[in-house]
């Protein structure tokens, strides 16, 4: 800044004039300490923008027309409070102070929208008082700023957009359904295979004589109820019987010679003796279960008939 100071002292402000300075003057300045050694370049003051505040105010005062509000219909207001943002808690300090971020399109447009809203909310009661209508009655037909044709186009576009959204949603749903359906199908097939396997094993077991119950033929209803019970029973007896037999035959060193010969104990064991069967008198069991309806003889029948 020493250079500028020097210039203003000398009353100079351009390079050409600077060159006209005599050496003596330069030497003087150098001795005073204003000039530093090296190349001194004159600095230009930055251009100041004109801001004639007094002029502006005067102009405004002259220019202003004091019209009633009805003629002007203008309002100055802050934007309406952003209800949604408040609820969400995203209201940041910048917005509340009035600084808009011009880059964030959505925020910016919402700010303008809210400003217009605030104006409308303030102005409508005023207009009502002044008897100026704001609502167009349904039978009032007049030329609109945009033609009907244009509005049809707008409507078409909106419909198209909606349709596109719906289509994409449908497609998504279908995809989800198909995935789910596939899962369900796989599950059902597996279930069927399991059921088949269970049935086959049950049949085989019956064939081999391990279970004597024909529960598996009754199907799903009983199968579900009895399956658990029969399962536990089978688990008790099933392999055990076979195992038992085999153990008996081959276990502990192989076949026992003379296992069917009588021993003292088996000879003296009379638990299997049924006296009545032995004497041939347990006849009732072997009968048909008593005479149910014995038909009377010929003579008796004839007599009965004659009596009637």
């Amino acid at each position: 800044m020493a250079d500028v100071e020097m210039e203003t002292q000398m009353g100079l402000d351009s390079e050409e004039d600077y060159g006209e300075l005599s050496d003596a003057e330069l030497q003087e300045a150098f001795s005073k300490g204003l000039l530093k050694p090296g190349l001194n370049v004159p600095l230009e003051e930055p251009k100041k923008a004109v801001n004639n505040i007094e002029g502006l105010k005067m102009c405004l005062a002259e220019f202003k027309k004091n019209l009633p509000w009805v003629e002007r219909l203008d309002l100055t207001n802050h934007p309406a409070v952003d209800v949604l943002a408040k609820i969400e808690g995203t209201l940041n300090k910048k917005q509340s102070s009035g600084e808009i971020d011009a880059e964030d399109d959505f925020q910016r447009e919402m700010y303008f929208y809210r400003q217009a809203q605030a104006t409308v909310l303030e102005a409508l009661p005023k207009l009502k008082k002044l008897q100026i209508p704001t609502k167009r009655p349904d039978d009032y037909f007049a030329e609109m700023a945009k033609t009907d044709q244009h509005m049809q186009k707008v409507r078409k576009k909106l419909m198209q957009k909606q349709m596109a959204i719906e289509k994409s949603e449908k497609a998504k749903k279908l995809r989800e359904q198909r995935k789910f359906g596939k899962k369900v199908q796989v599950e059902v097939l597996q279930k069927r295979q399991k059921a088949k396997k269970a049935m086959m094993t049950a049949v085989k077991k019956y064939q081999k004589g391990m279970t004597d119950k024909l529960d598996f033929l009754e199907g799903d209803q009983e199968g579900k109820k009895g399956s658990t019970a029969s399962k536990s029973q089978m688990s008790k007896k099933g392999p055990n019987a076979k195992r038992k037999y085999k153990d008996q035959k081959f276990g502990f060193g192989g076949k026992k010679k003379g296992s069917k010969w009588n021993t003292k104990e088996s000879f003296n064991d009379v638990s299997g003796f049924r006296a009545k069967t032995a004497h041939g008198k347990g006849g009732k069991k072997f009968n048909k279960g008593g005479k149910k309806n014995k038909r009377p003889g010929k003579e008796t029948r004839r007599k009965m008939k004659a009596r009637k």
């Binding site: 002259e62 011009a102 303008f112 030329e143 700023a145």
Partner: protein, 346 residues
């Protein structure tokens, strides 16, 4: 001041208006009430027997210079649609100086003017001025969207009076206050203008953001202030405010304004600087390679592990040697190779 009953009579008999149209006129003109508001005191509700008098004689001339593109033309048309108190004029020759605009306005009997100027088919400048003596302002217009855009779905009556909404920042600075007054007088439709509609169904907003003025136009749908944008929309970047109309001493100059030429120049310079940098880096690399490399002093222990290489044959073979017959049993594959057919495994 015309009596409505007499007017209807004349329409029916002299002009020959049909029954249907006549009933429309009658329904509009009867049962009209009016209220007078003086110094915030309102009078009793009285029936209007004759239409209100149009007092505020504000007329705006909207026109442009040559060399504008389709968007500007549509914007001008939209402004004329929005403002029933506007008039149009032919394009001005660029040879004429700017103060000629004042004369054009006088001829057309307008006291405000919106003049569009297009430069280089790219930049659009807008002048808003109070014609005989008043202030004028020059703006750079950006981000123009016209009424015809399908994204803006609102609609309003042609010639209906707008509400004007200003940002409170307009009251804080004197130059903004002046602009506010200018906009209010230019854009507000006078009451009882013959081409205007009596309903107030749209609102124009002027907001200051990022040191620019943003203009939006919304339609009022419901009483609870639900709005839809109608358009047009644009952004104004203030350049200068003059005391006179299209001339005169400068009252205010926007320090943040950068002319579009300057913007483009800066972008080009940036690109050029980047190119230069890249070139310089390349050159430096080439220089480095060409440099004479330092010869390091020989280390005695370098030769310790060097073993003499085998002697290479003097004759250099150019063709590959023929493959020798291998002794492996390759019967199957040989058969395959010869016949090209698949044979059964044995």
């Amino acid at each position: 001041m015309i009596d409505h009953s007499i007017l209807l009579d004349r329409l029916e008999n002299l002009v020959g208006v049909t029954v249907m149209a006549l009933s429309w006129f009658r329904s509009y003109l009867t049962d009209h009430y009016q209220i007078m508001n003086v110094n915030s005191e309102s009078s009793v509700l009285t029936k209007v027997k004759c239409g209100g008098k149009w007092k505020n004689k504000e007329r705006v001339l909207v026109f442009s210079s040559r060399g504008i593109n389709f968007r500007t033309r549509h914007l001008m048309q939209d402004l004329k649609t929005m403002m029933p108190h506007s008039k149009a004029d032919t394009k001005m020759d660029r040879k004429d100086k700017l103060f000629v605009v004042n004369e054009v306005c006088e001829i057309k009997n307008c006291n405000k003017c919106i003049f569009f100027e297009a430069k280089k088919n790219m930049d659009l400048y807008m002048w808003v001025s109070n014609v005989p003596h008043g202030p004028s302002a020059k703006f750079l217009v950006q981000n123009v969207h016209t009424l015809a855009e399908l994204k803006m779905t609102g609609n309003c009556l042609k010639g209906s009076r707008p509400l004007l909404s200003f940002d409170p920042k307009f009251d804080k600075e004197p130059h903004y206050a002046l602009l506010k007054e200018l906009f209010t007088q230019t854009f507000s439709t006078p009451q009882y203008h013959p081409k205007s509609q009596p309903f107030v169904d749209h609102v124009l907003t002027f907001t200051i953001a990022d040191k620019r003025i943003w203009f939006r136009n919304y339609q009022i749908i419901e009483e609870d202030a639900s709005l839809v944008e109608i358009g047009p929309r644009f952004v104004l970047n203030l350049i200068k405010i003059f005391q006179g109309s299209f001339g005169g001493p400068t009252l205010y100059e926007n320090p943040h304004f950068q002319s579009p030429n300057m913007c483009r120049r800066l972008m080009r310079m940036e690109k050029a600087a980047r190119q230069k940098e890249r070139q310089m880096v390349k050159e430096i690399r080439l220089e480095k390679r060409k440099e004479v490399k330092e010869v390091l002093t020989e280390d005695v222990t370098d030769d310790v592990f060097v073993t003499p290489a085998e002697e290479k044959p003097k004759e250099v073979e150019h063709e590959a040697p023929r493959p020798s017959k291998s002794k492996k049993k390759k019967k199957h594959f040989q058969i395959m190779a010869k016949t090209g057919k698949r044979q059964k495994w044995r």
